[in-house]
């Protein structure tokens, strides 16, 4: 391999230039405020974690982890998500805080990309975790907060698809008899391969009624009416999941966000991580889900403090893309001074900054091309010459 050019960055890494930084900052502030208003407390965790703890527990596939070795030869990972580190914190530093715990984060996460090197391998996620509460109220709160956070950023058209892992597991075990066979079918859903799913179902030694139950599952997408169809598919298995979802919809209606939510029983985004409801958010402007989440009641147990938990994460880069980032509104002023007027220039800048303005103070002898330079500012104030009088242009 040849040496990288001096301007090159590792694959998937991006710089954030001033304009984007400001836009990002504005969106981030809006989101953080909303989440804080719902009583969630922000925390930060280290960028590096042990592979054996956070790396293993994380929902992110092994091949997507960035791994490195520390000086003792232990394998480290760049944190691939924030849920596993938060589970670690809750089970250690916060182990004396009783459940439920409401935490939030806004952090960069790292996922190595195999395909098309330009895709971001580091991106910022804003999210929450509600730990130690297994009620439908908690499910609804997290979804409602996600919807509310997205709305506050100005995102107009989006939908949150909600599914239930418990329903799928129980239906498949009920029809197929054991978990191995259920897993085969789940893998087709995970791979989004409905053609493979249907032909696999048709090849199974099942009654035509059972086959129809499994095939009809693929159509369980839509509004509240889908719950009724789901009920028709199961004898006993999955009934609890259906009543959970019904209750969830009722509570979401109280939050006034039910029109943003669609049910989708085929949603199956991870082979083994999620345990209850799962959800993904989509918008018209974007081909990829911009946020996702779900209930993960096993994860905390891996850190030695079992608890039911649910959370969501919003990808800031996708959200900005969907918002088709506006120009930042904060204008900048520039005071260009000559050395003999330094005192006035500094006094003037203090005055303007107190009014909340963003002000650059620039010595004229430090600039090559004054015309070109002053063109970058919305307002330019010259404090030059003997008189020392400020002259605005």
């Amino acid at each position: 391999m040849s040496k990288p050019f001096v301007f090159e960055k590792p694959m998937g890494m991006r710089d954030t230039l001033p304009v984007l930084y400001q836009v990002k900052q504005q969106v981030r502030t809006v989101m953080e405020q909303e989440i804080r208003e719902w009583g969630y407390q922000f925390i930060q965790t280290p960028t590096l974690e042990y592979y054996d703890t956070v790396g293993e527990a994380s929902a992110i596939l092994d091949q997507q982890l960035f791994k490195l070795l520390d000086s003792e030869g232990k394998t480290l990972v760049l944190r691939p998500d924030m849920t596993a580190p938060i589970a670690r914190v809750v089970s250690s530093s916060m182990k004396d805080v009783s459940y439920p715990i409401r935490l939030a984060y806004d952090s960069a996460v790292f996922r190595s990309q195999q395909r098309e090197g330009g895709r971001p391998a580091e991106f910022e996620q804003v999210g929450v975790e509600l730990i130690g509460d297994g009620t439908s109220s908690a499910d609804a709160e997290v979804i409602a907060l996600m919807v509310s956070t997205l709305s506050k950023t100005g995102l107009q058209e989006f939908k949150v698809a909600v599914g239930h892992i418990g329903f799928l597991n129980e239906l498949f075990v009920e029809v197929l008899g054991n978990e191995d066979r259920a897993e085969e079918l789940l893998r087709f859903l995970y791979e989004k391969n409905y053609v493979g799913y249907a032909s696999h179902v048709k090849s199974l030694p099942l009654s035509s009624i059972d086959k129809k139950r499994l095939l009809d599952l693929l159509h369980l997408r839509g509004g509240e009416e889908v719950l009724k169809s789901a009920e028709d598919l199961t004898a006993v298995g999955g009934r609890k999941a259906i009543s959970d979802l019904r209750e969830l919809l009722n509570i979401l209606a109280l939050y006034g966000v039910q029109d943003k939510v669609v049910l989708d029983f085929t949603l199956f985004s991870h082979m083994s991580y999620y345990t209850g409801i799962v959800f993904e958010g989509y918008t018209n402007e974007l081909g990829f889900p911009l946020c996702s989440g779900g209930r993960y009641d096993q994860l905390l147990g891996e850190f030695g403090r079992s608890a039911q938990a649910i959370g969501f994460g919003i990808r800031l880069d996708y959200l900005l893309e969907a918002l088709s980032a506006k120009e930042p509104s904060a204008p900048r002023s520039c005071i260009i001074f000559s050395a003999e007027n330094r005192k006035e220039a500094i006094a003037k800048s203090r005055e303007l900054r107190e009014q909340g303005r963003s002000v650059v103070v620039q010595d004229i002898s430090g600039v090559g091309n004054v015309d070109e330079y002053s063109g970058r500012f919305q307002e330019v104030i010259y404090v030059i010459g003997k008189s020392g009088k400020g002259e605005a242009r």
């Binding site: 939908k159 053609v195 997408r221 669609v262 989509y282 918008t283 081909g287 990829f288």
Partner: protein, 214 residues
Amino acid sequence: MSSLLTVAMPKGRIFQEAVELLRQAGYPLPPEFEDSRKLIIEIEEAGMRFILAKPMDVPTYVEHGVADVGIAGKDVMLEEERDVYEVLDLKISDCYLAVAGLPEQKVHSVAPKIATKYPNVAAHYFREQGEQVEIIKLNGSIELAPLIGLADRIVDIVSTGRTLKENGLVELEKIREITSRIIVNPASYRMKAGVIDELVERLSKVVESKEEIR
């Protein structure tokens, strides 16, 4: 994004059959549709905008969401492994992926060379067979490789077997059957559920009725 449903169509072999299927499903595609050299064709009456792409690229357009729906061969899906929903088997453009070679060709004993347009599929297949091979990626006229000594065998799609025969090659192993599929972008699948479900429903009726005739 406009309210039209964007459909990525594969140029070439599958195109004609796919257009026929859409017509049978009741979508009013004008007669000159096939003859056009445009890459983007809007047909308001059908509520659709078609983009004409290289078959191997169809899943890419759909994964990125610039096309809501696409028609792609299973061979391409296996090779590209894109994150899209594969919702309906159209049962058109039947063919299969196979390993072929010269009839008397002795296979290189250490690591036989395999020429193919499908390096991922080929690598996966031979790994499953426990065979150690060297994959050579070519972009077309794969049959040339064993004739000229570039590779011991090839992995390619076979429909009639004529090209193989005319070049003196024989089919050695069948890998799997291939048909064309309707694929859907995950976001479009939710945001435009109504239109997409209707498209899939109408097409699946046509496919089923054809099956019964067979």
